[in-house]
């Protein structure tokens, strides 16, 4: 056993290094945009500055009824309306519908039900979807790539724990200014501090997309035809609508249905109303419970007959495996979280981001001594080095460019929503070119400083442009300054350590 232990650790160290490196850059991007996604609603609000702040808390039943009245004018012939009500973190009602093959959407004032005009933007949704679907790539291919990276992450975590024999002693050791040793200590500290979070977030990440990655149980023929819909029903309230009758019908009071659901689950419980075939005699209304205040995201809803308003079905529980999945998924997206928990999840994700980043840097630091011995660094070494700069220091610049685009792109621009996103990738590509063209040490400092400067100035842009009638800065602007300070701090540290080395 004693002879086998070092060999095992060596094997695990090799596995850890290579699984970490191969998907490190993608994992870094997934961690950082994932961290931002915990403030998806807040980002979306900030990116639509025209929308007025609510003067009073909307009553869910009333705002649902008003939204229905508006949709009867906006989308009378729809197959389905989906109405997402305003809540603690959203100040608008988001309505979407489908007429034939065409999707439509609108944001409504929760107090009046009237459509609101705001700039075309994906808002926080962009970071959220990029986090697991990337962009430009076909959806399924992108998600497989993300899944593979996540699996590598899981293996890197387990092999990292096995490699790291003195996990707790080392946690309290930090040797400053000792080059490789310090990078290793930093890598260990951010990894161990949030290890339960890293393990949880990685495994639950796989669970969120498991029907894509592991379809084999559900695919067993021939009962797959029945299993698929039943499986879907365990995971979402968005089920395919039934057949319409073809006879026109009126819709009963949706507000009353929402009130009935509130009696069951509490005042702040209803998040969504789905109306199938709204103008038809066979219409159905599904009042869906929100995820705030409960960890599991397993679907909970009431189904009402549209024309009569009578309660037809109650979905209020799930089997053990379905509920486990609901809890795992819920832990990943943290929609249950209050403000303090949300910040904890955000900071833990940043620890994960730092874990990947320090690991990537460590790979080059370890090999730099050897590279100095030979005349010219190998191509592989230089590639890793440049990709590290472009990803670790460059992604914050690209994210900042996306937010700048939101403020500066003309409102009338065709495909404005898409252009904000193009700007993110254009900035990232420019950053890569910059990282290749500049001396490595200087590129690190300059890109972190650029990220800090872009975020520091950004809140002023909104104020200068007079966005929002009340003007001034928001809590989100202050958070941007916080992030800017962190980036500036990193730039200064790297700058100083460079001086010491010289």
């Amino acid at each position: 056993m004693s002879a086998a232990a070092p060999r095992l650790r060596q094997a695990m160290a090799g596995l850890h290094t290579w699984t970490g490196l191969l998907f490190g850059w993608l994992l870094y991007a997934m961690f950082l945009t994932g961290a931002a996604s915990y403030f998806r609603e807040e980002i979306s609000q900030w990116m639509r500055p025209e929308l007025p702040a609510l003067t009073q808390a909307p009553v869910a039943a009333d705002s649902a009824a008003r939204a229905v009245a508006t949709l009867q004018v906006l989308a009378p012939g729809a197959t389905r309306w989906v109405i997402d009500l305003a809540g603690a973190r959203t100040n608008v009602v988001a309505a979407s519908w489908r007429i034939g093959e065409i999707d439509g959407r609108a944001v409504l004032d929760p107090l009046t039900g009237q459509p609101l005009a705001a700039r075309a933007t994906d808002g926080g949704e962009f970071f959220y979807y990029f986090h697991f679907s990337l962009h430009y790539l076909p959806r399924v291919a992108a998600r497989w790539l993300v899944g593979l990276a996540t699996m590598f992450m899981l293996v890197a975590l387990v092999s990292g724990v096995i490699t790291h024999k003195k996990i707790f002693t080392n946690f309290f050791t930090f040797r400053r200014g000792k080059g490789q040793r310090s990078w290793l200590d930093a890598h260990n500290a951010v990894s161990v501090t949030a290890l339960p979070f890293h393990l949880m977030i990685t495994y639950t990440g796989l669970v969120t997309l498991m029907t894509l990655y592991m379809p084999w149980g559900a695919d067993r023929a021939p009962s797959a035809a029945q299993i698929r819909p039943a499986l879907r029903a365990e995971m979402t309230a968005l089920l395919p609508p039934g057949a319409p009758s073809g006879v026109t019908g009126k819709l009963a009071d949706v507000g009353a249905m929402v009130r009935e659901a509130q009696q069951r689950w509490g005042t702040d419980s209803v998040a969504r109303v789905i109306v199938d075939h709204p103008g038809d005699a066979a219409s159905q209304v599904r009042v869906v419970r929100g995820d705030a205040g409960r960890v599991s995201v397993s679907p909970r809803y009431l189904v009402f007959d549209g024309p009569s308003g009578t309660l037809q079905q109650i979905r209020d529980q799930a089997g053990p495996a379905a509920e486990t999945r609901g809890v795992l998924y819920g832990l990943h997206v943290a929609r249950f979280a209050d403000a303090a928990t949300r910040w904890l999840f955000f900071l833990s994700s940043l620890a994960g981001t730092a874990m990947v980043a320090t690991g990537l840097v460590l790979w080059t630091v370890k090999r730099r001594v050897k590279q100095a011995a030979i005349d010219k660094p190998t191509f592989g070494f230089r590639l890793v080095e440049r990709l590290n700069v472009a990803t670790i220091a460059g992604l914050p610049v690209a994210m900042a460019a996306f937010l700048w685009g939101n403020r500066l792109l003309p409102l009338a621009l065709v495909d404005r929503r898409e252009w904000e996103i193009h700007l993110f990738f254009i900035a990232w590509a420019l950053v890569l070119i910059f990282a290749i063209a500049r001396p490595v040490q200087r590129a690190w400092v300059e890109l972190f400083a650029a990220g800090a400067a872009l975020l520091a100035v950004l809140p002023w842009v909104g104020v200068v442009m007079g966005l929002r009638e009340r003007g001034g800065f928001t809590g989100f602007d202050i958070a941007l300054w916080g992030v800017s300070l962190v980036l500036a701090g990193i730039a200064m540290r790297i700058g100083r350590s460079k001086q010491r080395a010289a």
């Binding site: 094997a11 387990v158 495994y203 990655y213 592991m214 149980g217 067993r220 021939p222 499986l231 486990t324």
Partner: protein, 98 residues
């Protein structure tokens, strides 16, 4: 003269382990997800339980493949776990075919 073939064979062994980890591990995980349907629970519950367990099996398999003393032992270990799972999965497939 002696070292070159030794390096080549260790490269082949590494490649063999990588294949075992990536594809052997996935096959084992996929088998787990099907074998779960042989458990005495509702089909939908079993499908969900199988999917959730499969990723842990995958991670464990990869760790095993690189922890094993040789590439051959790595493959044998995967096969040893795959056999009972395969027996369960065959039962599921046979029932499904009826």
């Amino acid at each position: 003269m002696l070292r070159a073939p030794a390096r080549r064979s260790s490269r082949a062994a590494l490649l063999s382990r990588i294949v075992a980890a990536l594809f052997g591990g996935y096959a084992l995980a996929a088998l787990t997800s099907v074998a779960a349907l042989a458990l005495p629970m509702r089909t939908v519950e079993a499908v969900l339980a199988g999917m959730q367990a499969s990723f842990l099996v995958y991670a464990g398999a990869v760790i095993w493949v690189f922890a094993a003393r040789s590439a051959l032992r790595a493959w044998l270990g995967l096969a040893a776990v795959a056999l009972p799972l395969l027996a369960m999965a065959c039962k599921v497939w046979a029932e499904a075919a009826v």
